[in-house]
């Protein structure tokens, strides 16, 4: 009997991974806005106190200062919650994106799965904001194994990145090791009837949906689209051509996130019927993290229902 890894939150990957990479010879500096315990960045301070700077509850200053630090050659990790990263959009644009600074924004507590804290704490716009910044890579890991690999890749590649991590403990998908490559979708399951494209915690939920669909004789391909930018348009086009229908599932506003980007990419390449699972035109509310996801329909049942709708349109 194999050991099943314990569920873990993607946010837990940050501090330990950065400590490991710094010990291995990287030149990492971490900046923080008074949320280091929650983002796990603070453990880096304990290991490398001279390489950790807190800026207090002042995200604008933190992001511009991160850019200044990056001019000396360090890889700078700027950490806060996803909603508070949104607080400093122009600093992200003018201090980091336009001048192509090697700053990695790692924002935890992404999406509505922040749960109890309610609407103000639930980032449902961050994919849209960061994907609108020229030069930014935007990545959303689906489990802690992938999150570690994403952070490693961020250190190995220069330039601005946005990495959204999450609060809840999630089942581990990549039990046999990570397969993350920037800009490449990862096919977790193949199928001929439709493709489910997902990122973040919707990946595991989409895998469960695919199992449910299989019981109804529907074979779904599941793509983990961990990279939103640059988007893997080749994998998308292949999915459209080979399966003829696509469902996109994400923990984000439905009209401005991964689904919208996939639809735009396919519109010029190979349009097929699509359905979208995400947050509708509304803000979140308090509840446990999985209750809020259920309220929003961001669960296996929601993905399964969308799959049935898209299959019906295919016929």
């Amino acid at each position: 009997m194999t050991t099943i890894p314990a569920p873990a939150a993607t946010r837990e990957a940050l501090g330990p991974t950065l400590i490991r990479l710094q010990r291995a010879g990287a030149d990492i500096v971490v900046v923080d806005a008074d949320l280091g315990k929650s983002t796990s960045a603070r453990s880096f301070k304990d290991a490398f106190p001279e390489r950790f700077f807190t800026f207090g509850v002042a995200e604008q200053n933190m992001f511009s200062a991160a850019a200044g630090l990056a001019t000396l050659g360090s890889t700078v990790f700027a950490t806060t919650f996803a909603v508070f990263a949104e607080h400093a959009f122009d600093q992200l644009r003018m201090s980091i994106a336009q001048p192509l600074m090697n700053v990695k924004v790692v924002a935890s507590h992404g999406g509505v799965s922040t749960g109890e804290d309610g609407a103000s704490a639930q980032s449902i716009e961050d994919f849209a904001l960061f994907s609108s910044l020229v030069n930014f890579s935007v990545v959303v890991p689906s489990d802690i194994v992938e999150a570690e690999a994403v952070i490693e890749a961020a250190v190995a590649n220069s330039g601005p990145w946005y990495i959204r991590t999450g609060r809840p403990k999630l089942p581990v998908i990549y039990t046999e090791g990570p397969r993350f490559r920037l800009g490449k979708a990862d096919m977790l399951r193949d199928g001929r009837d439709l493709t489910i494209v997902a990122c973040g915690l919707l990946v595991e939920r989409s895998l469960r949906a695919a199992e449910a669909l299989a019981k109804d004789g529907i074979e779904a391909r599941v793509l983990n689209m961990a990279t939103l930018r640059p988007l893997d348009v080749e994998a998308l086009e292949a999915a459209a051509r080979e399966t003829g229908a696509i469902v996109v599932a994400e923990e984000h506003l439905v009209y401005s996130g991964l689904g919208a980007m996939c639809a735009q990419a396919l519109a010029t390449r190979h349009p097929v019927p699509m359905e979208f699972v995400g947050v509708q035109d509304r803000y979140g509310e308090s509840g446990t993290w999985d209750e809020v996801l259920d309220i929003m329909g961001l669960n296996a049942a929601g993905v399964t229902a969308a799959a049935h709708r898209v299959i019906a349109r295919k016929r």
């Binding site: 500096v29 001279e50 390489r51 700077f53 800026f55 207090g56 002042a58 604008q60 200053n61 933190m62 992001f63 511009s64 200062a65 991160a66 850019a67 200044g68 630090l69 990056a70 001019t71 000396l72 050659g73 360090s74 122009d90 600093q91 644009r93 003018m94 201090s95 336009q98 001048p99």
Partner: protein, 279 residues
């Protein structure tokens, strides 16, 4: 003309002012007023204090000048050109398609421009980050950030001011070009920022205020002081005149971001030439 420590600052700054007026006149857009108020301060800094190599803009041992008031590119480009960073003739490409001399500062365009700006309020934070990075590496170099007084409206400036004092960042020098005018009106009408000196002191900075930003000796004295401050960041507040050097532009809110007419251009160039004597 490549400037050096022995450069006649009076002649240099009159030449720079002619460049500024001509660039904005030719481009039919750009910011004369705040360029004219800042150029004397910048000229003393670049000729007497800043460690830099115009032929090697990325020299690792350089001090950094951060132009936070990123609309005053005419002053910055004119000075960089006269320092030898690029040919003076290139100033005619200001704001032109395909050129390097963008309307507002863009990092690396040309070499010597250390930051992207135009949205106000970010330069002090950016400079703070640079200085923290230098300190981490044991570098003694200075980071000098030039801000406007209208820019003090931006909340981010005060986030940076608080953080710089908290982290006891010496070697970070804020220069404020206090010309008293912002985009729409005099700062006292738009947003009162005084007493600026007391505000920076309360935030934990060492401050010198009331320095005449058009008196070369006073500027030099203030910068020498700022370069000597240890244990905390230093701020110099210069009293300046927007549009300094051209009679009808001086202290005139209409010359924040508007180009001169043909007649105004001719008069401005006559005034700036006259000051220098026979051209």
């Amino acid at each position: 003309m490549v400037v050096s420590e022995s450069t006649d600052l009076g002649a240099l700054t009159r030449r720079l002012r002619r460049h500024i007026v001509t660039m904005v006149y030719d481009a039919k857009s750009g910011h004369i007023g705040g360029s004219m108020s800042a150029i004397d301060i910048m000229s003393v800094l670049y000729t007497r204090f800043l460690r830099h190599h115009p032929d090697d803009p990325a020299w690792a041992g350089r001090d950094r000048f951060i132009m936070s008031k990123g609309h005053c590119t005419p002053a910055q480009y004119a000075l960089l050109a006269e320092c030898g960073y690029f040919p003076v003739e290139e100033l005619s490409t200001f704001r032109r398609r395909g050129g390097r001399l963008q309307g507002h500062s863009v990092l690396g365009k040309p070499g010597g421009v250390e930051n992207s700006a135009g949205a106000l309020g970010m330069g002090l934070s950016f400079g703070l980050g640079i200085r923290l990075g230098m300190r981490l590496r044991g570098m003694e170099n200075k980071v000098v950030v030039l801000m406007g007084d209208g820019e003090q409206d931006e909340g981010q400036v005060w986030e940076a001011a608080m953080a710089a004092a908290h982290h006891e960042v010496d070697g970070l020098i804020a220069l404020i070009d206090r010309n008293g005018i912002q985009n729409d009106d005099f700062t006292v009408n738009t947003m009162r920022s005084e007493p600026l000196d007391e505000k920076y002191r309360a935030f934990g900075w060492d401050v010198r205020a009331g320095v005449d930003g058009h008196d070369f000796a006073a500027i030099e004295d203030a910068l020498r002081w700022a370069y000597s401050v240890r244990g905390k960041p230093a701020c110099v507040i210069f009293n300046t005149t927007k549009g300094k050097g051209v009679s009808f532009m001086e202290n005139n809110p209409n010359f924040h971001g508007a180009p001169p007419s043909d007649e105004q251009y001719a008069q401005a160039m006559a005034e700036l030439a006259e000051l220098e004597g026979a051209r």
